[in-house]
Amino acid sequence: MKYFEAIGKYFLMIREVFLRPTKWSIMKNLILKEIDDLVFGSLGIMIFISFFVGGVVAIQTALNMDSPLLPKYLVGFATRQSVILEFAPTFTSIIMAGKVGSYITSSIGTMRVTEQIDALEVMGVNALNYLVFPKISAMLLYPFVISISMFLGIFGGWAASVMGGFSTSVEFIDGLQIDFKPFHVFYAFTKTIIFAFILATIPSFHGFYMKGGALEVGKASTTSFVWTSVAIIIINYIITQMLLG
């Protein structure tokens, strides 16, 4: 019952986010600040993880191809499929739930604890629009992060495969081009946009409605990470079934 209540409250929050908008002159600066914090602030870790995970995917694929009958270009093919279909959009989003999600929950939660949200409401400001809308807007650039993740994941795979002697550069690139379906990219970016919305709103929900003090801010950050990850995994399954199933 508690969970249904929370889900209902979440959707009411989403509705409120889009009502009574803040003046554009103020909102535009808030959006730019959030783009800097949420999107550009995450690029470093994304670049690092994507490159090395792409490399590991290529090595694992190569090492599991025992039969000499299997063509070497399969390493490139498997790396492309893994990175574009799952690693870049889903795995990356779960990492972002930890990085961006906990940042959102703790920053909004601290504002709740220190009565800054009450101060906004007393002034007649729609606190949800002021705090959450810029985050949703900034996360519209999340597909840009994911496209970088896709590129670097494949590049990491190429580097590991060529430098590790598992395939030649030509074989790997052949594998990348074989049986390429543009719809898979569409599927990946469809997921990404939905995950971006989840990454901005579920942590905001946990921060905005938290009660208590500093300890509860920490607890809310953990809870928000868990629920954001759960939502991403469930929605990933549903979208995959709908678009590819």
Partner: protein, 255 residues
């Protein structure tokens, strides 16, 4: 003027406010006092519209809050200034940005005019050299002054303060009290202060509402509080030896 009629509020079935009725007059510093857990903060937050009471009315200048539409409520909120217990300054903004925030949000005035108003109110609260500092870089007393400046920058009709002296040394507390009283009289606004600081009660308590267990147990002025026989009030106000002696001296002087 704010009129409160038979206000009831409970949380998870536990009643916190049990039928409070009172009037807060314009141009006066109205104090809400009472022990911790007596319902002061809930009462103040109900006046601010942050809590919705289950029963009763709050009437602002003749208009009942519960009968207002959303636009009227928003308009009313823009006429309210609030000083929170912990100041509630936006820690990502400088002092100047904090004070300018309500103006930027609701005023269509040019930036130069807003800047003049910010300079004026910061000057009024005697903070002339802290414009570019951040809340974490100034003292608690200065933070309170910034909070007062932010609360009055939009020329509100109502000023609410939740424990404005908490965490301050006695001298700074008196400065803040006097500042709030001066501003109340200067701008002829309705000020409601939630406090348990007895110095504030004696200094600026033009109207005092004493809450006990969610009820209004007594109301009067700082002059009347010396003469009252109400046991709940005397037990609370004169719990320290210092205030017992002050009361004794006052009574002897009167006789």
């Amino acid at each position: 003027m704010i009129v409160v009629e038979n206000l009831h509020k409970s949380f998870d079935g536990t009643p916190v406010l049990k039928g409070i009725s009172t009037t807060f007059e314009k141009g006066k510093t109205n104090l809400i006092i009472g022990q911790s857990g007596s319902g002061k903060t809930v009462f103040l937050k109900s006046l601010l519209g942050l809590f919705t009471p289950e029963e009763g009315n709050i009437i602002y200048n003749g208009i009942t809050y519960s009968e207002m539409d959303d636009d009227q409520k928003r308009e009313l909120r823009q006429q309210m200034g609030m000083v929170f217990q912990g100041s509630a300054l936006f820690d990502s903004m400088s002092v100047q940005e904090n004070v300018m925030f309500p103006l930027k949000m609701f005023s269509k005035a040019p930036l130069s005019e807003m800047q003049d108003r910010v300079d004026f109110v910061l000057n009024r609260v005697k903070l002339t050299d802290a414009h570019h500092k951040f809340p974490s870089e100034i003292s608690g007393g200065m933070q309170k002054r910034v909070a007062i400046a932010r609360a009055i920058v939009n020329k509100p009709q109502y000023l609410f303060c939740d424990e404005p002296n908490s965490g301050l040394d006695p001298k700074t507390a008196i400065i803040i009290d006097n500042l709030v009283q001066e501003i109340t009289q200067e701008y002829d606004i309705t000020t409601v202060i939630n406090t348990h600081d007895m110095n504030s009660v004696m200094e600026i308590g033009e109207k005092i509402v004493f809450l006990k267990d969610g009820h209004k147990a007594w109301e009067g002025s700082n002059k009347e509080i010396f003469r009252t026989d109400n046991e709940a009030v005397t037990n609370f106000v004169y719990s320290s030896e210092l205030f017992k002696k002050v009361r004794q001296m006052y009574i002897e002087e009167r006789n």
